[in-house]
């Protein structure tokens, strides 16, 4: 399997362990990623607050780069995934708008064709029949006994028309991956909710409350760790967990992994190789479960 990899910004910045573990997962699975080094930030639904056409032009440019590479595009961030799919929908559903966007792209040598490449989150790729078979064949260290709580990230689920999950209100794709890795999925209500990250600069208390409610729900449901496909969710749930812990009477402490870290652990990589020592909430308690 060979894909154009859209890394997104945060996997190159505040969650570099996501990039590291993605590349280790790919290496272990024999997946070839061609990094899209000239692709811009997706805008995270924020650039479109300023100028919707600008956001769509930047993202159509990104998709056109994958089209030029002749490779399906893979994201490792739920937000990037949803935002790129939104642009695809905006441009594909309105021929006049598509022409307008392509006029903007023309001078740069790019043209968005549409319908030529798939835009998929890494979790969607692993969740295909081919992906699950590959995982099944390559698991070296089954994660037996590890209770894992998926946290999907809003943008891969909503709006449901653009989601790649069959039932976005009750998705099972990540949990299916967990089972193949030998882990035990924990189903809890908050797994499809918002982590609060988009308003962390505007309404910190509400943001932390949202993240805290999800973490406590996962803990109360018996999870050993939360696993997310979104680096922004990871920041909200891990980097700000000390604040969340202080806000909650019951306290709150649970490691949060990126999905590729969980995958690569099962492929036999060590936590250090996957940057798990970079997490704010220590993941060492998971070592004991997996020992």
């Amino acid at each position: 399997m060979k894909f154009a990899l859209f890394t997104g910004c945060v996997a190159k910045g505040a969650t570099r362990e996501l990039m590291l573990s993605t590349m280790k997962s790919a290496e272990g699975l024999g997946i070839e990623f061609v990094e899209m080094k000239s692709a811009s930030c997706c805008g995270a639904g924020v650039v479109s607050e300023k100028n919707p056409l600008l956001a769509d032009a930047l993202n159509a440019r990104t998709i056109s780069i994958a089209e030029e590479q002749g490779l399906d595009l893979v994201t490792i961030c739920s937000t990037c995934q949803g935002i790129l799919k939104k642009t695809e929908c905006h441009v594909d559903s309105d021929p006049a708008y598509k022409e307008k966007v392509n006029t903007v792209l023309e001078e740069g040598g790019h043209q968005y064709a549409g319908g030529k490449v798939k835009i998929q989150h890494f979790a969607n790729v692993l969740g295909t029949e081919e992906g699950l078979t590959l995982l099944r064949d390559k698991v070296k260290r089954p994660l037996t006994g590890l209770k894992t709580a998926a946290f999907y990230g809003c943008y891969v689920l909503r709006p449901s028309e653009l989601s790649l999950y069959e039932d976005p209100d009750n998705p099972t794709g990540m949990e299916e991956i967990f089972k193949i890795l030998g882990a035990t999925p924990v189903y809890y209500e908050s797994r499809t909710k918002c982590c609060g990250f988009p308003i962390i600069m505007m309404n910190k208390d509400a943001s932390h409350d949202m993240a805290g409610n999800a973490l406590i729900d996962a803990i109360d449901s018996g999870a050993d760790c939360v696993v997310t496909g979104c680096p922004l969710c990871h920041l909200s749930l891990d980097a700000y967990q000390p604040e969340i812990d202080k806000m909650n009477k019951k306290g709150c402490s649970i490691p949060v992994l990126h999905l590729p870290q969980l995958v690569a652990l099962a492929l036999g990589y060590s936590p250090q190789e996957l940057g798990m020592d970079k997490h704010i909430i220590s993941t060492t308690r998971l070592d004991k479960i997996l020992a």
Partner: protein, 313 residues
């Protein structure tokens, strides 16, 4: 046979809500509301819920089915059946139940009222009608379809933790006036809507779009107000500064500069805001998790800059 597991509540008889199950045999082609009526008319006359038009026009019959808000008259019961042929019904969220599936809409209406949901023209009323072009009407067409059913309000992730948030329905209603060509109060409106509890407190979860039974799709309307607020220069708040800083960062390097955006979002002269950023910043620095100090541009950033120029950004 479908089992309806309904959350019952009557504070005059029992303080705590409880679930009661009802079963119906012939449910083919029946909407969920038809089923509720069957239960009320044939099994338990005390079951309480709101309804009126039965045609997805009045917005009265919104309830939570299997955890998510829907209009009971808009969905076939057979489409909602989950495991064990059961549908779980609860009152809408984020509002207090009054009895069974009926909730108190007062906070919802109070918030709609707060956005001044009526035209405030700057000119004197014309002798005849005020005309709108199809393009002008298109800007407010979607928001105008809102039937005030409360489904978006029920499932809003921010309202679950912050009562102060105006919520998706009121903000969608606000957009309908912010972008109405006949209204003369745009600046004052977006100033008010940019305050805490307004547009910038929306967390982008998309639940409101998912639950909206009409094309009103509140999150998209909220974003339209944000764009107008920025165009009108209402930028002295963290949300607007964040949008401007983000857009500027992508312009200069093609990617996010995560070190600069938090600082620019709270404002360079906001001592408390900057101080609040310190703990997480230091924590990340200590773990070697801080974004690189030297921010790297993407390849071919010049093309991104050209796109910005072409779109006058």
């Amino acid at each position: 046979m479908i089992t309806f597991k309904i959350k019952r509540y009557n504070p005059e008889k029992q303080a705590e809500p409880y679930f009661e199950e009802f079963q119906l045999g012939e449910t083919d082609d029946l909407t969920l509301l038809d089923c509720l009526n069957q239960i009320k008319w044939t099994l338990d006359g005390s079951l309480t819920y709101r309804m009126s038009c039965r045609s997805a026009i009045c917005g009265s019959c919104a309830v939570k089915a299997n955890g998510h808000a829907i209009l009971a008259c808009q969905k076939q019961a057979s489409q909602l059946v989950k495991d064990n042929d059961t549908i779980t019904l609860e009152p809408l969220g984020n509002m207090k139940p009054i009895k069974d599936l009926a909730v108190d809409f007062k906070p919802f209406w109070d918030k709609v009222d707060k956005v001044n949901p009526y035209l405030q023209p700057s000119k004197k009323s014309p002798e005849k009608e005020t005309k709108q072009s199809p393009e002008q009407f298109k800007l407010i067409d979607d928001a105008s379809t809102c039937i005030m059913c409360g489904a978006c309000y029920s499932d809003c992730n921010v309202l679950e933790v912050d009562d102060n948030f105006l919520g998706p329905a009121a903000l969608a209603k606000a957009q309908r006036f912010v972008q109405d060509s006949r209204d003369g109060n745009t600046l004052a409106r977006v100033k008010e809507l940019s305050k805490p509890g307004g547009i910038w407190d929306c967390t982008h979860c998309g639940e409101c779009v998912e639950r909206c039974p009409k094309p009103a799709e509140p999150f998209d309307r909220i974003k339209e107000i944000m764009t107008v607020a920025l165009e009108q220069g209402v930028t002295n708040n963290n949300g607007a500064r964040h949008a401007l800083s983000f857009t500027k960062s992508v312009k200069s390097s093609g990617s996010l500069n995560e070190n600069i955006i938090p600082v620019e979002s709270v404002g360079f002269f906001n001592a408390k805001g900057l101080f609040d950023l310190l703990p997480v910043g230091l924590r990340m620095l200590f773990k070697g998790k801080n974004p690189p100090i030297l921010h790297k541009s993407i390849d071919d950033v010049d093309d991104v800059k050209r796109i910005y120029r072409e779109l006058n950004e």
